[in-house]
Symmetry: D2
Amino acid sequence: MQTEYIVLSEERNVSLTVYIQAAGGEFGGVAARPVVVVIPGGGYHFCSDREADPVAFPYLKAGYQVFILRYSLNAHAEWPRPLEDYEETIGLIRSRAAKWNVAPDRIAVIGFSAGGHLAACAATMSRNRPNAAILGYPVIDGDCVHDYLPSAPDVPSAVDGKTCPCFVFATRTDNLVPVSNAVHMVDALCAQGIAFESHIYANGPHGLSTGDPSINDQAFSGRYAAWAEDSIAWLADVMGGIKSTGLTEPAFGPKINGNREKTLNLDCTMKYLLAHPGGKALLAEKLPRAEGTLPPAAADVITLRDCLKYARVDSKTVKAIEQALLAIDNTQEG
Amino acid sequence: MQTEYIVLSEERNVSLTVYIQAAGGEFGGVAARPVVVVIPGGGYHFCSDREADPVAFPYLKAGYQVFILRYSLNAHAEWPRPLEDYEETIGLIRSRAAKWNVAPDRIAVIGFSAGGHLAACAATMSRNRPNAAILGYPVIDGDCVHDYLPSAPDVPSAVDGKTCPCFVFATRTDNLVPVSNAVHMVDALCAQGIAFESHIYANGPHGLSTGDPSINDQAFSGRYAAWAEDSIAWLADVMGGIKSTGLTEPAFGPKINGNREKTLNLDCTMKYLLAHPGGKALLAEKLPRAEGTLPPAAADVITLRDCLKYARVDSKTVKAIEQALLAIDNTQEG
Amino acid sequence: MQTEYIVLSEERNVSLTVYIQAAGGEFGGVAARPVVVVIPGGGYHFCSDREADPVAFPYLKAGYQVFILRYSLNAHAEWPRPLEDYEETIGLIRSRAAKWNVAPDRIAVIGFSAGGHLAACAATMSRNRPNAAILGYPVIDGDCVHDYLPSAPDVPSAVDGKTCPCFVFATRTDNLVPVSNAVHMVDALCAQGIAFESHIYANGPHGLSTGDPSINDQAFSGRYAAWAEDSIAWLADVMGGIKSTGLTEPAFGPKINGNREKTLNLDCTMKYLLAHPGGKALLAEKLPRAEGTLPPAAADVITLRDCLKYARVDSKTVKAIEQALLAIDNTQEG
Amino acid sequence: MQTEYIVLSEERNVSLTVYIQAAGGEFGGVAARPVVVVIPGGGYHFCSDREADPVAFPYLKAGYQVFILRYSLNAHAEWPRPLEDYEETIGLIRSRAAKWNVAPDRIAVIGFSAGGHLAACAATMSRNRPNAAILGYPVIDGDCVHDYLPSAPDVPSAVDGKTCPCFVFATRTDNLVPVSNAVHMVDALCAQGIAFESHIYANGPHGLSTGDPSINDQAFSGRYAAWAEDSIAWLADVMGGIKSTGLTEPAFGPKINGNREKTLNLDCTMKYLLAHPGGKALLAEKLPRAEGTLPPAAADVITLRDCLKYARVDSKTVKAIEQALLAIDNTQEG
């Protein structure tokens, strides 16, 4: 493994620690590796070493390249400086993708506590959106982040349709950052139709990092220590994983349905299709009984593809419906 | 294992399937076992067999007595009939506790989908509250449950201070019951200061039950299948577990802090103590610098016990503060 | 779940406890289920309840039908009486396969301690061999079993080419049955070319059963409790698993190579092919450099299929070699 | 993390890659860390990169310092050169223990394939024995290692009373190094009374390393990938683990009984005590019924401590027996 230490700003003490694994050779099928950018916490006052290297190791084991970003703090942290540090990091990684054996469209970010705030801002507000974000006991609410950095923004109100899939974890009894922060992030992702996974473990104090006993010996619910492996499996679900023969397609992909595609499609929800003039007309012709038979709440989440499958519609008909849908524009905002 | 089939109402087709394990003999230290009541789903139209026996087995393995409740459906389900079926079940279990080797104050309930709605009602509205509730892809919102049973109540608005600890799990891409139901339950638990654990897995359709491949072969995120073992570990955290020598005390207990105890105590949060006249006076005397130094969000969750520990206050002083607190009444509503 | 209690011999107190799950209905694709026969231990003096029901539950959860055999003990156990109890059990299960929703060619047996001896005898000496055997801290050696039942046979010397795949687990510090018993079983399986999996955990006393804390509270290595789930995954590897759409083919099957097939084939090992006149001639023609280039130890285990793959031989040539091999008789004992 | 690259021999291309984590600071309670020395495989012809860095990461995550040893190969590998490389490595680590934040009496070694041979030689033949050894699909038998390095020694015949605890894993269908190598190592450890843990997984080819999909995409039994986490838990059992407050005592320690201590003691086995003149006399006086009541096989493994516990002998008597035992010399070879 090659290691580098890159100073992004001497004045502001901003740096990248870079851990680069080989590609090619015995790892021949892996021409480029996905990336995890680690953003430690520390209340925008310091960057915790316990949320730096120890977090890098599970992703290195899984085959990722890892960059640890130590960002602008204290007097240097006037917003949007920390977010600009992130933007610069992504720019640098993408510009050196070949040198660093990096797949430039497979960059995940992970942040903890205040670093989770910065990671969540990256997911929702940055120019260089990551492909996935992992948020560990994050500071999310404006009310809460202002205790640490008055200029920092509220996150839930910034969640938009371009927000990347998020993996949010915390402990319900966090004794420093109220768990309501994590809950409000999940609320916003849910409300905006963004993909997410969320684990809130019953018991444990703030700052558990990986949950390894070498880092913490406080009492916490044993399930907590599963988050790192779970997040790696989740990355394979939404961003794609790594096989020795190359990167794999994501098992499910970053979207929860097809409602935001440029044309209508089989993965649109029934409610969406029925609210779209072109979709409504098509369904009235092809599936005249569809409207009204589904409970409204179900229609909000079930896709046409699932409906056709459960109704055992033959594949030729499905294909015909799909082609008709793909011809209907879906770029007008609802 | 002894099995019984008890008809609670022939007319309404309500029944209990009872799986009772031995206590004593080779299991001598286990004089009485905790209980899990399983409530299958089915939209208040049927009770799914896939959410009945298969769910019983992991809890039986862990040493629990298991009761499967098949409750009032369809025309018989006018609210509160299903909840009354639950109340009758608990009454019966408690009245036969000795016969069935049951610890009557260690009863957990688990429900799925519409059965999750009923379990959540048990947790929040019943006379015989369970000691813990596990809610699998539950129907929670009034809007949603009314699609299936118009007389059934909204749950989030009913979460109260007596609500038992809840373990809520679902998949983000549930294609029948919107995941917002689970999210809203977590919101309400969080807002009301109730203990909970929550796992929302990224991908998977409605009705996955245990996630065993013998029950489902649809594609879903592999983490899903961990919920059953995780729920058993969680029960040990909040309700207590089982050792061969007898039942164990809960590792953490059902409360997240001491704010609801009858007197003030070390596990009250700083914000709560500072808002209480007697607590404020005591802190002003004993810890004059406490007020104002903590970020407001942190003060909302950190306990006095943790503050004293982090400040390395000596144990004699801690003891004195504790005794002073325990003499201060906390039964006046805030 | 239907339960039955069948007395096989009133005089000898031999019985079957039967746990039968539904097939069809909501489990429609599962027309017949595989079977696990549980054989508790107890030194041929009693049948331990701790190795009966608690062992049944994980297999029930995985979708198996489970039968608990309480076999001939003490004065009634003169060999081969216990083995005959086993034979009768298998005969009964197969004769009632339709009634009990059983796949009659997917029967696994699991035994513990002395019950592990009986299960190992079933795997190696019975007329009705199981399809797989799971042996928990088994008594295996003649020297050891004679301490409990002088007429009972030594197992390792009975391992033959028809022995089914075995999953052997034990603790290295077993304080009643020396771990050498398990080790000698593995030795014999290895020497006879039989498929197996083996887990010997560092620390733990005799009789841990499932390792659930409700059954034991003695100190043991935490890995121990993984054996049940591991054995279920192993059954899917060697015997086939269960999906909601029906039984699945085994991922790997019950054999470690093709040396025992009726004709030569690509899965024969290189050493075996080179020792077979017909195989040697074929290889000399098709792969003249094969003989002598492989280290002898490697030649003993690598198959021709792997050699051709690593040498990147084109698929047409592979097909031609395969057809030539399948025409060569392999029924003469080496 | 600090990284170093140390050339041990330029001529023979022998090197150490050193990964050193901080002690003190935020990891304040961890004054010195235990060590894992990684020895990659490659038939004494090369050192596989797939068994180097990827193996380091899980131990780094668990808090270990990691050293990767690339040892003498090919013409430079005339025995005992590779073992001397190992000896030099241990000497260097111990001499720089303070600089590298190392606990010098907590050094484990892990080797794969031919590197597993070298690690097994370290465990059995070296002057600087490790405290624990992890052997992954190792070459063990003289017959087998001679295919790769004719001067290298057979291992099983070298297992002695000073051999450290070993964790041995392999796949039963290894297609390059016969699994009999691993089995013979377990045999020898068992026969010599050495502590071990062993996992032989049913299916998988040679060279799976960590089992991460980024390293291999060949088919293998899913249990395989558990070995790394299992080995870390095992190290805590036999060598001691790491908490944030410092190193922990081993849960069980490196011995399976007290037979090799300098005096008799309660952890001697009954058979050993009865074969020792002083022990026999003491037992005849204190526990006159002990001799003859235990089955011989059980007497070989059960300790006096367990016997007294199962017989519910009072603690005062136990104490008296213990003191009498500790006065009896046990340094004469049996």
